[in-house]
């Protein structure tokens, strides 16, 4: 299990014991993190699972596919520090990672 903290826009924190191999989104949903809506259940088709983080963590994540970049673009999100949590699998080295959530996912 890998400890990852999700921080809501209002500061409320949920510490999740994440299972490696599963996506960040699946782990967040299983732990009832309120700010990860994930309307499309991980099809990379809704963009309501956005997470923000310090750019240093990006190296633990696979490069976004074109469809994910399009989806982020659709929500006017840019830069290194934002991803769709359904497209990022958890790895052991993510222990201690802090993820921030948008004010509203939709």
């Amino acid at each position: 299990m890998v400890k990852i903290t999700f921080v809501e826009h209002d500061g409320q924190e949920t510490e999740v014991d994440a299972r490696p191999g599963l996506s960040l989104m699946k782990n967040a949903v299983a732990a009832n993190v309120p700010g990860v809506l994930a309307e499309c259940g991980g099809n990379c088709a809704c963009g309501t699972c956005r997470i923000y983080f310090d750019a240093e963590w990006a190296r633990l994540m696979p490069a976004p596919r074109e469809s994910e970049r399009e989806m982020l673009d659709y929500w006017n999100e840019e830069g290194e520090g934002v991803r769709l949590s359904c497209q990022v699998p958890v790895v052991e080295d993510m222990a201690g990672m802090v993820l921030r959530l948008p004010e509203s996912q939709n």
Binding site: E39, G41, N43, C46, G47, E68, E70, Y74
Partner: protein, 427 residues
């Protein structure tokens, strides 16, 4: 047929009773009065009407299997508490081909099918297909505009949904004629009252062989279409899915989006006809059309009920589910939960939280076609309102305002009408 007579819900079987299929909300309010999660007392079914409770079940794919999504309680599985649950579910699925579609798969098999669909139908990509949708909508409207009346189901909804999905997926031009007019018999759809339906009678389900040919062709000759993208998707380990796996997903995609979308159009036209002034407001403020589509999905959505099968004992919302129970997730009731929506039975274009409805489900099995259905709904309303006005029911067919008559789908999963005749004036 009308449903004016009062029904004794305690003695009525929702899985066989047409009167409930025709007017499900009385039944859902009867359930809700007893609590957000209540056992039905027959067929080992537990019914959910609460929004939060239903969402928690949608999200929990470890304790709830999707094996019964298309059969509900008519699942051919007699639970034996002395055998491992997984083994029973797997052997049931292996023996019944129609339980092996993406919608009924669980965990790792489902994850593989989802990998094929990942990023395929997105709002951005639907935007790119918009020009075609406008063109098709106008062509279909041309076919009936001189008549002053049309049947929403067959004259507009079916051809529009079919041609759009065929173009999007990449069904070759020469095969489109045979696609048009292909519709499931309303008495043979999954969720049919009484549990009997014949998938082999469903023309959409018979398209597998044709799709197999398309998939092999796209692997050899890539094009700019959804089929090619489906063919190029890889599993998480980087491997290429076998053609059969792509065919299964593509065929399901093709069929899944038809009856549902057709009923969305029908629902929107009923709302337009029933709410004087709505047409004008949407013409004046077209930016409200997406909210109109979502409010129609919330209040009149076609996906009335879906199902999950309890794998493990688990407590949700204070209710303890036992292995082998069928959970009836009443989406249409969750969408009218007063704890979630103010004045839930009223149509309200200005609802702030309208997009939170669960007409497309939620969690890992949530609808993969949501962005397409929303785009089709918006384009349909834009073009219909641009060309037709004073849209009203054909009262010769459907009776006057206080005594409307429709023939409804004889179905416990889907809510909708078999035909819906509207009259209009030209703009």
């Amino acid at each position: 047929m009308t449903s004016q007579t009062t029904i004794d819900y305690a003695k009525t079987d929702v899985f066989t009773e047409y009167a409930i299929a025709a007017d499900p909300h009385g039944f859902f309010e009867y359930l809700r009065a007893q609590g957000p999660i209540v056992p039905l007392g027959n067929r080992n079914v537990v019914a959910v009407t609460g929004y939060d409770e239903g969402c928690a079940i949608f999200r929990d794919d470890e304790n709830f299997s999707a094996i019964n999504t298309v059969t509900g309680p008519y699942l051919p599985l007699d639970y034996d508490p002395h055998r491992p649950m997984d083994e029973q579910i797997d052997s049931c699925r292996a023996q019944n081909g129609y339980l092996a579609s993406i919608m009924s798969e669980d965990t790792s098999a489902h994850e593989k099918s989802k990998a094929i669909l990942n990023g395929i139908i997105t709002p951005a990509r639907m935007k790119a297909n918009e020009a075609y949708m406008y063109e098709v909508a106008d062509q279909i409207i041309d076919e009936f505009i001189d008549k002053g009346r049309f049947n929403v189901v067959t004259d507009f909804g079916q051809p529009f949904a079919q041609l759009v999905i065929a173009e999007l997926i990449g069904v070759p031009e020469e095969d489109r004629v045979s696609v048009r007019g292909m519709a499931a018999d309303p008495n043979q759809m999954p969720g049919n009252l009484g549990g009997g339906f014949d998938m082999s009678a469903n023309p959409l389900a018979r398209m597998g062989m044709q799709f197999y040919g398309y998939v092999l062709d796209r692997r050899a000759n890539p094009r700019d279409d959804v089929l090619t993208r489906l063919c190029q998707q890889t599993y998480d380990d980087g491997s290429l899915p076998p053609p059969e796996a792509v065919v299964a997903v593509a065929t399901f995609l093709f069929g899944a989006g038809q009856d549902t979308t057709v009923q969305l159009f029908a629902a929107m036209l009923r709302l337009l006809a029933d709410n004087p002034g709505l047409e004008d407001r949407l013409r004046a403020e077209p930016a409200l059309i997406p909210d109109f589509v979502d409010e129609a999905l919330r209040i009149e959505g076609v996906t009335k009920s879906t199902f999950r099968y309890v794998r493990n004992r688990v407590t949700i919302g204070g209710f303890t589910f036992e292995p082998g129970q069928h959970v009836m997730l009443n989406i249409a009731a969750m969408n009218r939960d007063p704890a979630k929506y103010e004045a839930p039975n009223a149509f309200n274009l200005d609802r702030k939280n309208v997009r939170t409805h669960v007409a497309f489900g939620r969690g890992l099995h949530a609808c993969a076609g949501g962005p397409l259905a929303r785009a089709e709904g918006r384009v349909a309303v834009e073009r219909l309102l641009a060309r037709l006005k004073n849209i009203r029911f054909d009262e010769g067919r459907h009776g006057p305002a206080n005594a409307r008559q429709f023939q409804y789908l004889p179905n416990y999963s889907l809510y909708g009408v078999i035909e819906q005749w509207m009259e209009f004036d030209r703009v």
